[in-house]
Symmetry: C2
């Protein structure tokens, strides 16, 4: 246990679940004098958890919270995770508790939308093949695809999915948004197969919950058009990876890009690395320069509201596993 | 000489400078009964030119017209090229003649704008490096760039440059358009160096003329920011290729993408193929599925206006070498 600010017993204690180097620690200088900041890693979290009033899950891909939470002792009244998804974090005991859970809603929306646009355009313009041909010093003209006038289906109607839809629409792509239930501008999940069967671009931006786990399986890839392109920037387990590999290898669909995986980092021996037509990227779709500073600043802002007893934004519905939307 | 439609001597004769296979011939079925259509290639153009009332330059990258034009005999009253640029075509004798020259203005604007957006986003999101790392089965997270809030300078204020500017602006990029002279929404070329020095993205979409040849040289690459990315979708000779290779190799700028070259196809022995950070593509930025049909239909439409004595659109200012804009 390290005490990085001088504090008294009456002060609020913020515990940070640190990320492994080279990831930097959050910049929490603005909490000086207002909170005692302690740091834990996965191995020390269980023993320090009873000391914490608030927990900042900086190592957002760790499942240490889920493992430590059911243990003995006092529990923090507020848990904030520096990620959009809370799937690594949640456990029945945390869900049943009075502890408030907040997420990093907002930080990743526009960066991820740009990333998805990059993948859609790269596929339409056959850019990976251009790079392959360049390595062979081969001049081979191809006709490529327009994206204006094509159709996208974005699965996940939270702020990330909505930002993706806005960006694709700006590029002239007719974009349907699919959520759990129908509401203004959002199709219900019952419409999913129909929308998938007409889409040129399918983008998975759903939260990982019991309902969504494995939703993209052989049957759903079979529903898509042979010219369709699939992108997953949500969570790995939303996709049955073997089924996707089969679908792309056998040209059930034209190609895919995965930024998230069942196991991260993706093991070097994974067959996914070498499926022709599949782009593998290292869970970075939302991480644009300055993202960690933005996450730190967002936590400080939430801390100020919380410490003052004001209502918090970004409060996760712990039963559903995401922040309920408009 | 082949006569593909039955015709009488009083009929109008359209001569087509064919492109080499595998490029298909233009679909000119709609001219049946209204024009005699003859076909030439580079070796037979000179002898057939005196027979033609109109010339369709289907092999738009050939310089056969420029070579054949100064010869003996009657010359067509109208020349249409299935390209935006007329640089391969023009010669002093054609420029001085009464012959009307039209181009394919309009067909390539939006496709090229999408292509440029693809390159800008691929660079911002470090996609070529992602593909390299994938081949090595290496998981390496990087922070990438936002494009919203960055600045572009698009050189060339014709319909292609304007379409590029519109698309980049939709993506949140502050975009300056540079033309020969200042007008509404267009900076004069005197502003170019100042705009280049602030741009994150520099896109060359200028026509190739005596004024623009070699405009992107060592001095201009030196003006750009080290983080700047350069894209050329105009014509190869707008860029001094050795200077660009030096600029990219020595990290004067962050990278570049060339779709057009001094010599096309780019020879296999060209050092450009292997400059790290330089993307080489085979002059295809505007060629989306159906482009040749669109070019054929555009010619037929112009033919109908021309045959009826109506004024033509897309008329090139032969002295300037492009269709003067708004």
């Amino acid at each position: 246990m390290s005490d990085t600010t001088s504090g008294t017993m009456s002060e609020t204690t913020v515990l940070v679940l640190d990320a492994a180097p080279p990831a930097p620690a959050p910049r929490l200088g603005r909490l000086t004098g207002r909170a005692r900041v302690l740091h834990a890693d996965a191995s020390t979290l269980a023993e320090q958890l009873p000391l914490a009033d608030a927990l900042l899950v900086w190592d957002f891909s760790s499942d240490a919270v889920r493992r430590a939470w059911p243990g003995e002792g006092r529990r923090p009244r507020w848990v904030h995770t520096a990620s959009a998804g809370v799937d690594h974090l949640m456990c029945p005991e945390l869900a049943a508790s009075d502890t408030l859970v907040t997420n990093a809603r907002g930080v990743f929306d526009e960066p991820i939308a740009e990333y998805v646009a990059a993948l859609v355009l790269a596929q339409a313009k056959d850019l990976p093949r251009t790079l392959d041909l360049q390595r062979e010093r081969t001049w081979r003209h191809r006709d490529t695809r327009r994206i204006a006038g094509t159709r996208a289906c974005v699965v996940g109607s939270g702020p990330i999915g909505r930002a993706i839809a806005r960006t694709l629409r700006k590029l002239g792509i007719t974009t349907a948004l699919v959520g759990r239930t129908a509401r203004a501008g959002v199709h219900a999940s019952e419409d999913l197969d129909r929308l998938l069967s007409r889409a040129d671009w399918v983008v998975c931006a759903a939260p990982l919950t019991d309902e969504t786990r494995g939703m993209f399986d052989a049957r759903r890839f079979g529903v898509m058009q042979p010219s369709a392109y699939f992108v997953n920037i949500g969570r790995g387990p939303l996709v049955v990876e073997d089924d996707l590999a089969t679908a792309v290898s056998n040209r059930w669909i034209a190609g895919a890009a995965l930024d998230v995986f069942e196991d991260e980092p993706l093991p070097a021996e994974s067959p996914l690395w070498t499926v022709p037509g599949l782009i593998v990227s290292p869970h970075m779709s939302g991480d644009t320069v300055g993202w960690r500073d933005e996450l730190g600043a967002q936590f400080v802002e939430l801390f100020e509201a919380w410490a003052a007893g004001r209502p918090l934004t970004n409060v996760v519905d712990k039963k559903r596993g995401y922040v309920p939307g408009h």
